[in-house]
Every structure is written in C-alpha cells, then in structure tokens.
Symmetry: C2
Subunit: 456 residues, 2 copies
C-alpha cells in the first residue's frame, strides 16, 4: 500500500498530463464530423498501453471505430482480469453552457472539467496507470487484458461481433469496468446492476410542405401538435409507461431487497437542491432510488419541429421528430421493447398523419453477482483504500457490453466505478474529481492483489 | 382597357426584371443577420417609386426597419388611394427543400419561384407598375399614396407609431392592399375578412442542467415530456381550444352567412391531394372554409428540446421550448387572448417545472364592408379584367395594419389580392404566377378609374 502511494505521489503530475492529452481529443462517436479525431484517440490509447508495458497491443479495425486491445500475460496459471472501457465521448452540445471549452480540460477547485473527464476517459485511464504502477513496481499478481472501444456512446454496435470473433483472445476470469458512480467518497459503493436501453427515433408527417398557419391553420392537422399528443399519452396520470406489455417481464423487488436498496444514503432535499427542482417526479409507489435503479423508464431525449430560430414565423410544419429512449431492467429485452414501442406508437397515430419509427442502438439490462470472488476482491480493495465498507447499489445507466460478455464469453463483470452522480455525465461541464482519479489508481492494484489471493 | 393592355405588353420584360431585382434582396425581417439586406431593399423600393413618378419619396426611419413613403397628388379635390404593402419576407428555411435558391428568382412553367414572390413583393410591386402605367399614359384618376413597410412578417411593431405620428400625411379615402389570395383565376374573389394573431413563446425548465437519462431518468420530470403534455391539453377531443374564455367573444355565423361562405368553390379531394393528406382536421362541426375563415385556431409553429443532432444522445434535457400562435376572429382581442393564454399555460404547469411565457407580436381581426364605394370599385374592376363577378371570401391570414388603419385613421381597406392559396406562402418554393402578376397590373388601374367615378 505504501509502495502504491509513493509511486502515485512520484508520478502525480505526469498521470494528470497524460489524461489531459487524452481529454483534448474530441472523440465524439455520434457525430461523423469528428471521425478523424476518434481515430487519433484510438492510436493514442494504444501508444499509452505500450508505454505502460502491455504486449501485443493492437488497434483492431471493425465496421465502425476500432477497438484497442493490449495484454500482459505474466503466468498463464494465474487468473486473468479483462479491463473494459471506452475512449469515445458524448456530444458536447449545448456548447454555450460550458464554463470552459469541453475539449480543453481545466481544473477548478480540485475537479477536472472536460467532456469525457469521468465518462469514460478519466475512469478507464486509471486502469492504464494502475497497470503501469504494477509493472514498474513488479507487483502484478494477475494477467491483464485491455479492451477499450470507441462506440460505447452510440451503442457498441460492432463490439458484439468483435467479441464473438475473438473469444479465445479475450479469455479471462473477470471483466473489470470503471464506468459507473459511487454514492460519495464518504460512502463508497459498488454497482450491482445496470439498466438496459432501447433508443427510438420517430417522425410524424402531416402536409407535404410547411404551410402558412393562417391560410391552413385549423383545417390541417399540425404534426407538432399530434406528436405532442402521442408523446403525452406514453405516460399515464401515475407516470407509468402506457405501452402494452411494457412491464410484463419486470420483477417486483422483495421487501428485503427494497429495504436494502433504500438503506443507501439519499437526501431528497440535497437531491432537489442540486438540480434546482421543487419536486421529484416518477412512477407512483416507488422511491427515487427504486425509480432510477430498478424500474424501466421512458424519456424524450430530443424533439424538434417547425421554426426554432429568432423571432416569429407563422408556419404549420410538415414534419415533427423526436428521439425517445427507454431504460430497461432485468428480464426486459431491448429487441422486444423496441418492437412493442414501434407497434404501439404506430397504433396511436391518428389518420391525419403518417408515422415512421426507427430504432437506434439497444442494450440489455444486467445484475452482477455479489457473492463472487471478484466482488469480494472489489469489496476488500475499497475497504483498504477508503477505510470503509462498500454499499451495493443499482445503477440507472446502461453498459450493453456487460450483458454481452455474459452471453458470449460466459464471464461476469465487476462494476468498480469511481465517478459521482454529480459529475454531469452527458451534460455541459462534465467533471471528474482529482481525488477520485488518484483514489482509483490507488484502489485498482488492490483489486488485482485480492483477486489473485482469493482465486488460489 | 386596350391602352392598359398595350402598355403592359410593351413593358412586359422590364416589369419582370425589376421584380426579379427586388426578389433578390434577402429581406428577412425576423433574422438580424439580414439587416443590411432589408435596409437595401427599402432604398430600392424608394428608387422605384421615384422612377414610377412619385413625389416626396422618403425612406422614413423607425425604431425598427424603415417605412417607404411616396405620393402623387394630382388634384386635392379628387379621392385619394393609399396603397399599403411590405418589402420584408418570411425566413426561407428549411433551405434544403427549395428546388431553386429562395433569393434567386426562377421561372418554371409560368410561375416565379422565390421567397416573397407573392408575399408581398410580387403583389405590392404590381401597384408600383400600375401607378407608372397611369402616370405615363396620363390616366391617373385618383391621388395615390404608397406606404411600404419592412416589418409585416414580424408584427409591424413600429408601423402603429408611424401611422399615429403621420395621420395628416397618410390622409386618404381608402387603403388598397394586395397581400391576400383569390380562389383561382377562374373564380376571382375578394377577401372581406382577416384573422387576428397572438404569437407566444413558451419555455419549460426542469433540472438546472441537461442530465444523464440513465442516472436521473424516471426520477426527475423531463421538461420535453411535460411540454408535450401541456401542448396536448390545449385542444380537446373535438379539437376545440381548451383555454378558458377563448371562444367567449366569437360570433357564430348566421345560417345565411354559412351558406354564402360555403358556396365558395371547394373540392376536398383536390385539397387533400395538394397536401398529400388522407384526412382534413379541425374543430368538430365546422367545414374547412369555416375553420380557416371564421374560427379562431391555435397552432404550434415550432418546438425544440434536448438533442436534435445525428445519432443517439441519452440526455434528459434541462429546457423545452415552443412557439405557439393563435389566429383570432372578429371581437377577439390579441391582447386579451395573449393574457388568457399566459394565465392558462402557467396554471397548467405541474409543480415539477418552471414555465416562462412571452408574447411576440399580435394583430387584430377585421371584417371589411362589402357595401362601400371602394368594394364596388374593386368588384367592377375585377369583372372587367376577369370577365367574371368576384366572390366574397374570408381569409385565414392576418394583416394587423388593416385594424390599425380603422382605429387610428378611420379609413377602411379593400383587400384586392391576386395570390393563390397554393402559392406556398411562408413555405419552401413560394411562387407567384406570371399571369397573376400581369393580371394585377391590368386590374389595378381599373380600380382607380371606378373608385373615382363612384366617388363623384
């Protein structure tokens, strides 16, 4: 432990400079205009894995963005840890809301502000540095493999194919992922579940051209109005999703599970104050912790129609569009739910309009075991570095790869994340605390140590 | 009449070239980035009035865009016609839907395609050329004044002030306006009413920043979803507007009025085919003609929230916005209705969000008399040039100035428009038929002739 702390102390500034360099690449996978930047990012990650001591480092081409692979096999008889992360980031807009440029990392009161600071560059890079630390100090206790992809924020479309085709190369005993949050540094926690995702795009078409709202208004259905009515109908008065069959496969938690889940620290006043809202919202009969962790949801991620510029334009628009995504919980299938949504949305379209529904990426929900050697290793590592027991929580986010790994490779995952819900992932002014970054680099070698010990 | 036709024939090409020059100015009043173009347009109009023979031509400055004034007083004892028009145009977007550039007028099968071709450059310029024709052929029978403004498409905010301050200068016996449509060239018509307008912009704010839809989805109200629910509630199941008091002052038509109104040619199959819609929409219990001409309406002109770019972004947006306008009918007041809307919209906002409502420009509805000398002069002019009686109709659009003129100057208006509903006003590929342009130039001198005769 002292050795770990010393190495980090001696290399503190370099660890930060390297992360900053990584954060300066605008590796936005959703927007084609950043293609060359995303590719440069992959090369940078590969170079850093080599520098840290990895062998057979490869930038593996796919139909989309490449996957960076690297490994260090010290002894085939020892357990192998497969580290997964992603070097792509969410779009940065709305840009005007950033205090400092999203791709010019800036430190303000102990926090690194940049797109990807926490999700996931800051977090996966902790593993690269922890690996360097173990190699340099000769304290590697497990074999290690890295698989850092560039399409997580757009649904990891090509990762499944890659994993199927490289099952042998990816063989490991556990997948270790840092792409989730803790309750706080005072209340370290480990996520034991993730929600799945179904992401849809809808287009409602009324007249074949934009019309003068005076000449035609009142006589021709307005697709924006119709889309609003359709979206409004997707939640009932108790905020349950109205898509037939949506909840059919959802498991209700046992009272014990509910109690355990709700025992996690949660201060509603703080929660509301942080978001400047007067009231929380959600499905009647469930707590905020249950709503975000254990219940499926439906959210409008974007909507647009008609004139959205300066001033006034009296137009009756021809089209109205929306992006609508659903978070899924165990037993729900992304494909089934996407099909249900499509069928339902088409069925509620009035005869005045035409509706087109297309599915973006999806991902399956997962629950990770808490009785495994790997989970125990994570618990011990946290207890040693934080001096506190970790609280198991259910995360609201989605990491499609976790389910994929179980299905294709039969390997479980441990979600050892060091972010915070307040890190503003996917929002302007995303940040990652310096403390968390270094704390992660300190904790990860302990995971490897205990995972090796417990595997004996 | 022969003299008129000959003069038009001899100057056909020049009349068109001058209009094209006028149409090339992107005089979009709603968008500040076109400011210098709008100003250049005013100067061009002033020059053309001088060329046509107008005296004391002025580009009158206002707090906004200037108003171009010019006149020709041949004999103070003769009646005076005040021509009103506007040189500003609607924004041209969505640009990608234009077959040819909006500010590069192009002729396709006998039609001029350009933003403003019909609304209102093509129409007011007919008056300038008709005036030139009368001056050149020494057939002026009335004094004439021109007032061409540059803010009609943004609500004529400064025109009211100008009119009040220049009542003496604007003194006239009738206001003549060509900014409306006819049923068709086979069914010439004169609009005898216009709807008023109340244009609102709303902003719904949820959390203080965009959020990760996985981490917060299901526990925090989504302003896009809430805005959709609020907009959905503005029309009931029979498509009546639900704002309390909205219809209180609306007059129901008498059976006679209904019969007269519905006797105007209307082919629903043609109407639907032109717009590629399967069904017309609107208030239960009213015909399309009644819905657009005699009933107030509420339309979403624009809506935007969250991520609207390429691909998928799992964001729970902080804000959702919409532009919503209402067309008003006689007895409704733009100010009253704006206040009603604001009060109602704020009242239906759930406690999870904050709502801001702001009013853009408004305009009052009007009905023009059909028993006046001016209306009869218009009827006779049309009968002579079209060889057919004009059908009185109710227009769905709004020209705020008409009500303003009655209030401030006590002058009635005649709406002698030569456009067609199919001219795609406010839409991509706006057009104006060459036939209508020349037909207007031919008809207007006849109006002056009969107005003078009937005024004796």
């Amino acid at each position: 432990m002292e050795e770990i702390k010393k190495y980090i102390e001696d290399n503190k500034q370099r660890f930060l400079d390297e992360l900053f360099e990584l954060l300066r690449f605008p590796s936005v996978s959703a927007d084609p205009k950043y293609k060359s930047d995303v590719l440069k990012t992959a090369d940078y990650v590969a170079q850093k894995l080599k520098d840290a001591g990895a062998d057979s480092v490869e930038v593996c081409q796919t139909a989309g963005y490449p996957i960076v692979f690297g490994e260090k096999i010290i002894d085939p008889s020892l357990p192998t840890v497969l580290v997964y992360g992603h070097y792509d980031v969410q779009p940065a807009d709305p840009l005007e809301l950033w205090k400092t440029p999203p791709f010019e990392p800036t430190i303000r009161d102990g926090k690194i502000y940049a797109r990807g600071a926490c999700d996931d560059k800051g977090q996966f890079y902790m593993h690269v540095k922890a690996f360097e630390l173990m190699s340099q100090t000769g304290t590697l206790t497990c074999n290690i493999k890295f698989m850092i992809e560039g399409e997580e924020e757009v649904g990891s479309a090509n990762l499944g194919i890659f994993v199927k085709e490289n099952a042998e190369k990816l063989k490991a005993d556990i997948v270790l992922i840092s792409d989730t949050s803790m309750i706080s540094m005072e209340n370290p926690s480990i996520e034991t579940g993730l929600r799945g995702l179904a992401y849809m795009e809808v287009e409602v078409t009324g007249p074949n051209r934009d019309l003068h709202s005076g000449v035609y208004g009142g006589a021709v259905a307005n697709p924006a109005t119709i889309l609003c009515k359709m979206i409004a109908s997707l939640h009932d008065e108790n905020n349950h999703v109205t898509i037939p069959g949506f909840y059919d496969k959802v498991l209700e938690l046992s009272d014990e599970e509910k109690t355990a889940l709700n025992s996690a620290p949660y201060d509603e006043e703080e929660y509301k104050a942080d978001l400047s809202i007067d009231e929380v919202w959600g499905e009647k009969g469930y707590s905020t912790t249950e709503r975000t962790g254990t219940r499926p949801t439906l959210e409008v991620n974007g909507i647009w129609s008609g004139y959205t510029g300066e001033g006034a334009k009296t137009v009756l628009p021809s089209k109205a569009n929306a992006k609508i995504s659903m978070r899924l919980v165990p037993n729900q299938s992304s494909e089934e739910i996407s099909a249900m949504f499509t069928k339902h949305f088409e069925s509620i379209a009035p005869k005045y309009v035409k509706v087109k529904v297309t599915a973006h990426h999806g991902g399956e929900p997962v629950v990770t075991p808490t009785d495994s050697i790997a989970y125990q290793a994570a618990e011990k590592a946290i207890e040693e570095s934080f001096g506190k027991k970790a609280i198991p929580t259910r995360g609201g986010g989605s990491i499609p790869i976790v389910a994929l790994f179980e299905d294709v490779l039969g390997i479980k995952s441990v979600l050892l994340g060091f972010g915070l819900d307040s890190d503003a992932l996917h929002s302007p002014n995303e940040k990652y605390d310096l403390y968390n970054y270094y704390k992660g680099i300190e904790t990860l070698p302990l995971f490897h140590k205990y995972f090796a010990e417990l595997s004996k």
